[in-house]
């Protein structure tokens, strides 16, 4: 009786110690959308990356291939992107794309281990988009065969990173996507 009680108590102690450890070590995907307009609202979504991995691993093919379809509509293939990416990686730190129009600037650059995309739109409805993607994630995303993205590998790679991935400021609306611990 005492032995069983001690085993149960030890198991409970391990589980209660394990939960905070899980929270600290596991990576979480956080999404925050705020609308500061007339009807101010905030939406927060938090998800363990391990769940995103399972979901992507099981996702129907037509769901994961939608991005590829979109690219194909613009006559861009994954093979083209792989070739372009290989060139970009070899080029080292550089600004690859700069588009400057009267009210819009688009910049795509590599800075160290990051690919940074910046879109700044001025005028009546200003919009600022900041996307920071670790190079390893892009490598992983393009590591699949044929005309498909390897989303699972990309999520695996994201697990090792923390920080903001996407920041969008569109008028009163902001969108922030980041990887962090549970409480971030």
């Amino acid at each position: 009786m005492t032995g069983r009680f001690l085993c149960t108590a030890a198991l409970a102690a391990c589980l209660s110690l394990g939960a905070p450890l899980w929270a600290q070590t596991a990576s979480w995907l956080h999404v925050q959308v705020t609308d500061g307009g007339e009807k101010a609202s905030t939406v927060n979504v938090n998800l363990p990356l391990s769940v995103a991995k399972v979901a992507l691993g099981m996702a129907p093919k037509q769901f994961t291939d939608k991005a590829v379809e979109k690219l194909n509509e613009h006559d861009v293939s994954i093979a083209d992107i792989r070739k372009l990416w290989a060139e970009i990686k070899n080029a080292g730190n550089a600004e690859f794309v700069t588009v400057q129009e009267a009210d819009e600037t688009v910049r795509v650059a590599r800075e160290g281990d990051w690919v940074r995309i910046r879109v700044d739109k001025t005028g009546e409805k200003s919009e600022h988009v900041k996307v920071d993607i670790p190079i390893g994630v892009v490598d992983a995303l393009l590591s699949g065969d044929g005309e498909s993205f390897n989303l699972l590998a990309a999520i695996n790679e994201l697990e090792g990173n923390t920080g903001d991935i996407v920041n969008v400021e569109d008028g009163d609306e902001t969108v922030r996507v980041w990887i962090g611990s549970q409480g971030d």
Partner: protein
Amino acid sequence: MRVFLGIVGVFLGLVIVTVLSTSWLVVYVHQKEEGWRLMVPAPVFLADIALRIGGAQAQQVDLPPEALEFLPMLRPIVDELAKAPDFEMVHVEEPGLSVSIRKVGQSFDVSVIDEDQTVHVTVPMAALQAAARAAGDGYLRIGELAGAFDGVSHTRLVDVRQPDQDVSVWVW
């Protein structure tokens, strides 16, 4: 006569043990304006019996193809979520409305609070797992879904508070 009474006693004993050991669904309605209260307790296994009486049509519900596509994902996702510590998955805040979906233990707690009402729904993970299992060949097997609540106990599944009435559904 003694043998007969013995058989009746054993039968009644079995009925009492079965009824006490099974989960009960309790529906409670409080109509505030008219002042009446209604409490309906029913053993969960009765739902299974009712479905059997209702025939094949009552036992299964056709599912749209979109749902069939994503239902197989449900079980591994719930399995993975079960391993996670308690956390708030979704929180929406806007004037007059607050929505929260939390993982608490082995359940999901959904809470919707607006100016007129407060709604709390508890969805046991076992029920979601059962939904994934119960989906097959283009339809949802209701019997399997109802059976999922047989293993759930002492849980408030639904709690709706409105100015004119309160509704609660419990599993005991």
